[in-house]
Symmetry: C2
Subunit: 696 residues, 2 copies
C-alpha cells in the first residue's frame, strides 16, 4: 500500500524552461500561444463513468433540484424530501442495487452520479446519501438475501425513509466504543435495543428529526451473556402518521452550520424489541436458541470488515469535494477575469486576474483541483474493482480504505480552503448568497468531520505507514541503523550531493539549472516520496526505542501524533501526485498534455513550497534551489493564466450548474456599461475637469 507507483516520464518540455528570471512575465501572464483541446480534456475529467455523470448533471439542471439560499430550515427540509422523490422517479438512485430489485450493480457509476448532485444542493445530496448510500447500503452490504428481500424494496422506492444510526453523542469517530446494546432474548426470539444513558443516544443522524420511518441501528450484539461487538439491526422508528413507536424517542439536532435541508436528530431506544431476523446477518448471525456464529472468527477483523463495506461514503465525499471546488473556482476565476479594480500603470483599471497576488491566490488551487480530480477517479476505479467483485482481494480492499481515507481528508479540507479563498477573492459579491460560495462552503464544512473525522482518518493512514515500516524494518538495533541508511530517503540525499544534514551544500549554479531539475518528474517524485519515507522512519525509530515498555510506547506515540498525521498527509500528497501523473500518461502528446504537465508541476512545486522548511532542514534542497521553487511557481502561474478560461470550460458545467450571477455575465455587463458611459460622456465633452494639484 505504501509502495509508491513507478516513476512516469511526463516532464515539462525543456523548451519552456527559460533561465532568465525576468523573462516573459508580463502583468497579465505569459501567453505561450498554447491552447488545449477542451473536449478532450473534458472527457478525460469525466472519467470512466462519464455517462452517469452526464445524466446526473442533466438532472441537476432542473430548478426544482436547486438550493434556495436563505430558505428557512423547515421549508428547506420539506423541499429536500420532495427532491428525493424526484431522484427516485428519475431513476437516479437505483444504480448500485441488485438487478432483481431494479438496480444495475453499477457501483462506480452510482458514486460518480451522486457526486454531481452537489451542484444542485448539498443538502439534497447528503439526504440522498443517508437514504441510499448509508441506510440502504448497510442493508445491502451487511445484510443477506433475506434482509434484501424484506427491506430493500421500501428503501429503494423511498416508501421507507430511513436513518443510519451509528454515531452516538458520546462516541463520534470511535464506533468500536458505542454503548447501545442489542441483547438477544431466545424466549421471544427478539433483540432488545437499548441506549442505557444519554451519551449512548444516536446523534447527528440524518432523517432522524422528522422523516425516518426506520433505521439501521448499530449496537453491541449480546447473546448468552457475551458481547460479540458492533452489529447492525433494522429497527422501525415511526408509524405512518410520523409518531415514534413505543420505546423509541428522539430530539431534533436543530439548526446547523450548513446542510439545513437535512433533518438531523437524535434517537434513543428504551428496551425496543425487534425480531431476530432484523439482524443484518451477513457477517454475524444468532440462531433461534441464541447461538452466535460468524464467517469471520476474529472479532476485530469482523468489525473492520463490516465497517469496510461502508467506505463508499468517504469515496463519494471525496468526489463531491472536487465537484464543489470546480464550481467555486469557475465562479471566482470567471469573475476575476472580468472584474476591473484599481488603476494600473496605464491609467485603466486592471482585471483582477492580472494582479500577481490574485493569480497566486487562485491558479495554484486550480492545479490542486486537477490533481484531486484525477486522484478521485483513481479511487473510484479502485472502489469499483472491489465492489463489483472483479478484484475483491484483501490487498485491494486495503488500498481502497487507505486511498479513501487519504483523499477524502485532503479534498474536503481543500474544499473549505478553496471555497473560502474564492469567496474572499470576490469580495463583498462573494459574501452574497446568490453567488453561492458561502453556501457551498457552509454545506461542505461538516464533510471534514463526518464519515470519519479527517484527523482520525489520517491517523489510520499514518498507523498503516508505521505497520509497513515495521514489516520492513529488522528487529535488532544494529541492523536497523543499516536499514535506515539504506532507505530511499538517505539515498536521495546522497543523490542530490548532500551527504549529511548541516553539511556545506554545493550551490548548483544558476536558477535555470535548478528549475530544470525541479520540473523533472523523477525529481518531484523522489522528493515527495523521500519525505514520506523519512518522516515514517523517524517516527518508527522513535517508537521502536520504547522496546517492550508499552506505557512508554503509548507516550511516544501520543507525542508523535502530530508528526504522524503530517506524514500521512505527505503520503496522501504523494498519491495525488502519482494519480495526476498517471492521468497525464493517458493523454496524447500535444498542447493539452503540455498544459496538464504545467498544472502537475504547479501542484508538485506548490507542495515543495509548502514543505520547504522540511526539505531544507533535511538537506534535500539547497537554499539556492529553494529560492527557485517560488520563482518557478510564479512563472508557471503566469503561463497558465491565459489558458484559465479554457481550463474552466473543460469542467463541463453549464450556467444552470454555476448559477452565480457574477460568473454569468452580470459583472461583464456592468463593466461594459460603465466603459461605454465614460466614453460617451468624454466624446460629448461632458466629463468634468479634475481639480488641479496645488503648486508646491
Amino acid at each position: 500500500m505504501v509502495d509508491t507507483a513507478p516513476v512516469p516520464s511526463t516532464n515539462t518540455p525543456k523548451a519552456d524552461a527559460s533561465g532568465d528570471p525576468a523573462a516573459g512575465t508580463p502583468a497579465g501572464g505569459t501567453d505561450t500561444g498554447v491552447r488545449i483541446d477542451v473536449d478532450l480534456l473534458a472527457e478525460h475529467l469525466l472519467g470512466r463513468w462519464a455517462e452517469d455523470r452526464r445524466a446526473s448533471r442533466r438532472l441537476a439542471l432542473d430548478p426544482a433540484m436547486h438550493k434556495i439560499e436563505g430558505m428557512p430550515s423547515a421549508e428547506h427540509r420539506a423541499r429536500t424530501l420532495d427532491q428525493l422523490r424526484l431522484l427516485v422517479e428519475a431513476g437516479a438512485i437505483q444504480r448500485p442495487y441488485p438487478e432483481e430489485i431494479g438496480g444495475q450493480s453499477n457501483h462506480g457509476g452510482n458514486l460518480a452520479a451522486f457526486e454531481e448532485l452537489a451542484t444542485a444542493d448539498p443538502s439534497m445530496q447528503i439526504k440522498a446519501g443517508v437514504q441510499w448510500g448509508l441506510f440502504g447500503s448497510a442493508v445491502h452490504h451487511l445484510g443477506t438475501e433475506r434482509n434484501h428481500r424484506e427491506f430493500l424494496p421500501g428503501i429503494v422506492s423511498f416508501d421507507v425513509p430511513g436513518c443510519f444510526a451509528m454515531t452516538e453523542t458520546g462516541h463520534g469517530s470511535d464506533v468500536q466504543s458505542i454503548a447501545t446494546t442489542a441483547t438477544y432474548d431466545p424466549a421471544t426470539e427478539e433483540f432488545e435495543i437499548h441506549t442505557p444513558f444519554r451519551g449512548a443516544w444516536k446523534d447527528y443522524i440524518g432523517n432522524a428529526a422528522l422523516h425516518g420511518k426506520a433505521a439501521v441501528v448499530f449496537a453491541k450484539l449480546v447473546t448468552h451473556g457475551v458481547d460479540h461487538g458492533v452489529h447492525a439491526f433494522y429497527v422501525p422508528l415511526r408509524d405512518d402518521e410520523g409518531a415514534f413507536l413505543p420505546g423509541v424517542g428522539g430530539e431534533d439536532d436543530g439548526y446547523k452550520g450548513g446542510l439545513n435541508g437535512v433533518d438531523n436528530g437524535r434517537l434513543h431506544f428504551d428496551h425496543v424489541r425487534v425480531p431476530r431476523t432484523n439482524l443484518l446477518n451477513r457477517y454475524g448471525d444468532v440462531a433461534e436458541d441464541g447461538t452466535y456464529s460468524s464467517p469471520i472468527a476474529s472479532p476485530g477483523r469482523r468489525f473492520f470488515t463490516m465497517l469496510g463495506t461502508l467506505v463508499q461514503g468517504r469515496v463519494s465525499l471525496d468526489g463531491a469535494a472536487v465537484v464543489a471546488q470546480k464550481i467555486g473556482l469557475q465562479i471566482a476565476l470567471t469573475y476575476a477575469a472580468q472584474r476591473r479594480q484599481f488603476p494600473t500603470g496605464d491609467g485603466t483599471e486592471g482585471v483582477l486576474l492580472d494582479y500577481g497576488r490574485h493569480q497566486r491566490r487562485l491558479v495554484p488551487r486550480l492545479a490542486t483541483v486537477f490533481a484531486q480530480s484525477f486522484a478521485h477517479e483513481k479511487l473510484l476505479r479502485t472502489f469499483d474493482d472491489v465492489f463489483s467483485g472483479r478484484e475483491d482481494t484483501p490487498q485491494r480492499r486495503e488500498d481502497l480504505e487507505t486511498q479513501a481515507a487519504a483523499f477524502k481528508s485532503m479534498s474536503t479540507w481543500s474544499a473549505l480552503d478553496t471555497l473560502q479563498e474564492c469567496r474572499e477573492a470576490c469580495g463583498g459579491a462573494g459574501f452574497l448568497a446568490e453567488n453561492r460560495l458561502t453556501g457551498l462552503r457552509a454545506d461542505l464544512d461538516v464533510y471534514v468531520t463526518f464519515e470519519g473525522d479527517n484527523t482520525v482518518l489520517l491517523q489510520l493512514v499514518g498507523k498503516r505507514l508505521l505497520t509497513d515500516f515495521r514489516a520492513k524494518a529488522p528487529k535488532d538495533t544494529a541492523s536497523t541503523a543499516k536499514f535506515v541508511a539504506s532507505q530511499a530517503a538517505t539515498k536521495l540525499a546522497d543523490a542530490t550531493g548532500i551527504r549529511r544534514i548541516g553539511q556545506a551544500v554545493a550551490d548548483r549554479g544558476s536558477l535555470a539549472a535548478s528549475v530544470t531539475d525541479l520540473q523533472d518528474a523523477k525529481t518531484q517524485h523522489d522528493l515527495l516520496a523521500g519525505r514520506v519515507d523519512t518522516m515514517v522512519t523517524e517516527i518508527g525509530m522513535r517508537l521502536a526505542s520504547a522496546g517492550k515498555d508499552r506505557a512508554r510506547g503509548a507516550l511516544l506515540l501520543n507525542r508523535s501524533q502530530h508528526e504522524l498525521i503530517e506524514a500521512a498527509k505527505a503520503h496522501a500528497e504523494l498519491m495525488q501526485w502519482e494519480a495526476f501523473t498517471e492521468a497525464i500518461d493517458e493523454v496524447p502528446e500535444g498542447d493539452t498534455r503540455r498544459v496538464l504537465v504545467w498544472l502537475r508541476d504547479l501542484f508538485a512545486l506548490g507542495l515543495l513550497e509548502q514543505h520547504l522548511d522540511w526539505y531544507l532542514m533535511h538537506g534535500r534542497i539547497t537554499a539556492q534551489r529553494a529560492r527557485a521553487v517560488s520563482a518557478y511557481i510564479d512563472r508557471l502561474v503566469a503561463r497558465v493564466r491565459p489558458i484559465v478560461p479554457q481550463l474552466l470550460d473543460s469542467f463541463g458545467y453549464e450556467p444552470g450548474h454555476v448559477r452565480a450571477p457574477i460568473a454569468l455575465g452580470a459583472e461583464q455587463a456592468r463593466q461594459d456599461e460603465a466603459r461605454a458611459w465614460f466614453a460617451a460622456e468624454a466624446a460629448a465633452g461632458r466629463l468634468p475637469e479634475q481639480e488641479k494639484k496645488p503648486r508646491p
Copy 2:
C-alpha cells in the same frame, strides 16, 4: 512607523529550559506547578477601558440581545432593529459623541464597549456599527458644527436609522474611483446626487434594504465643471412609511453568508437634489455661488484625511475578532478538557486535550489570541490618543492607520482560522448551531473583506514599508549596495555566524543550547525584525532596478505583489510580538508573568515555525536549530496545557456570554453519567463478557 520598538527584557526564566528532549512531557502535559493570578490577568486583558468593557458585557447578558441561530432572515432583521433601540435606552452608544448631544467624547471606551457586543450577536453589533460607527461617525468627523446640530440628534436617538453609502458595486476597496456624482447647481443652491450606471449603485450597504431613512452618500463633488474628488453628503432616503423618496431607489442584497440580521442593500439616485448645507463640510465646502474651498489644498491629501477619520471601523473589527476568538477557544478548549474519546494505553478513554495533536491544534492559537488581545489594546490607545486630540499629529495618525490595517487583517483572518479549528475540534457537536462556532465564523467571514479588504490593507502597509525603505536608501547604486550591507538584516546574519547565504553553517551544538537561544527575547525580536527588513530590502532593490522606466516599475511591482503582502504580514507579526512583550512588562514578576512569557514564546516560535523555510533559505537559522523550534513548541504546549482552564477564566466571560451547551457542563454531565452507569453495572455483575479472540 517601520522602526521597531526597543527590545525588552522578558526572557523565559532559564530554570525552565531543560536540555533533555524526552524530559517532563507526560501525555497530558507538563505540570510545572505554576498557577496564574486569574484576577490580575483578567484586569490586564480588560485594559484601559475595563469599565466600558464590563458595562457592555453586562448588557450582552440580556437574552433579548442574543442571536437566535436559524431564525429566518426577516425576523432576525426585525430583532436587531429592536436591539438597537435597547442599546440607545441603555446609553450604550452615546460614548463617542460630543457632550452637548449627550455624549462623553470617550473614543477608546466606545470601541471597547462596541467590541464586546460581538458576544451577543455580531449582526446587532454590525448594525449598530453602521448606525453610530459609520453613519453617525461620518456626520461627526466629516461634518462641522452646523451638520452636527442638524443631523446628529436624530442619529444618536435612532429616530433616523441611516446608511453609510460609500461602496459601489463597481468599486469595492477603491473608494477613490467611485462614480456617483454630486453636482452643484448655484441656481437652486442644491447638489444633485446621481448614479449614472449600474456599477455606480451603492452596494452592500447596511440599513439600505429596509430601515434606512437617510444616508451619508459619498460622491464626487462637481462644481463649476470641476471634479473636486470624493465628498460626503447627507441624503434623505425614505419617508415615514418607509417608501423611497422621489429619485431614490434600491434593492435588497438578499441572503448573505452571515450577518443576516443586517438588512444590506443597494441604493441608486436619479438626479436627487439635496440642499447645499447637506454637504458634510469639514474638509471641503461650496459657497452659495458654487465656489469650492478646502482647508487642505492637495486633493490627494484631502481624500486620505477624510478617509482617515473613518479608521475606527477597522480598529473595532480588530477588537471584535479578538473577542470572537476568545469565545471560540473557551468553547473548544473547555469541551476538549471534558470530552473523552478513544481508549488510551491504560484502557480508559482519553481526554481530548491530552492528545498531542489536539493540543497542537488549539494551544498555539490560544497564545496567538493573547498576542492579538494585547496588540489590540495598543491600537486602541493609539486611536484614543489621536481621536481625543491628545496626540493628534500626522506621525501618530500614520501609526494609527498602519496599526489598524495590519492588526485588523491579521486578527480577522485569524478569527476565521481559529473558529474553524475550534469547530472541527468539537466534531459533530461543533457543527450544531447551538454550540455557536459555525454561526460566529459565518458572521465574521465578511470582516476580512469589509472596512478595507485585508489584501488591499496589507498592500497599503507594504507600500508604506517601501516608502520608508526609499527614504532611507541612497539614490545611486554604489551607495545602495553599501546601504544594504549595513542593514540590520545583514548584521543579524553576521551575528549568528552565518556570513553569506549558502555558506557552511556552524552547527551550534546541542538542542538545549538552541532552545535557550530561541527563548531569548532579543533573538526572537531580531529574527522577526530581520525578516521584515530583508524582505522589504529585497523588494525595494528590485523595484529600484527599474529606474525611471515607469512601465517596468509597474510590472515589477505587480510581480512583487505577493511578496510585498507577505512582507506586510511579517511586519504585522513583529508589531504583535512587540505589543505582547510590552504588555508583559506591565505585569509584576511572578507566575502570571512567567506564563505570559511562555505564551509569548509560543507565539514567537509559532511564527518562526511558520516561516522556517525563509529563515533557512536566508541562513538565519541552522537546520539543527530549526529542528529545535518544533520540539520547543511541543514542550511549551505541554507546559501550558495544565493552565488552560485558568487562562480561559482570565478572559472573564460568563456562561451567558459563552452559551454553548458543550462548554457549560453538558458534556461533563454525560461523561459522568456514562462512567457511573458502567461502574454500577460492573459492580452488579451485569456487564457481558467480551467475545474471546480465536486461538491462532
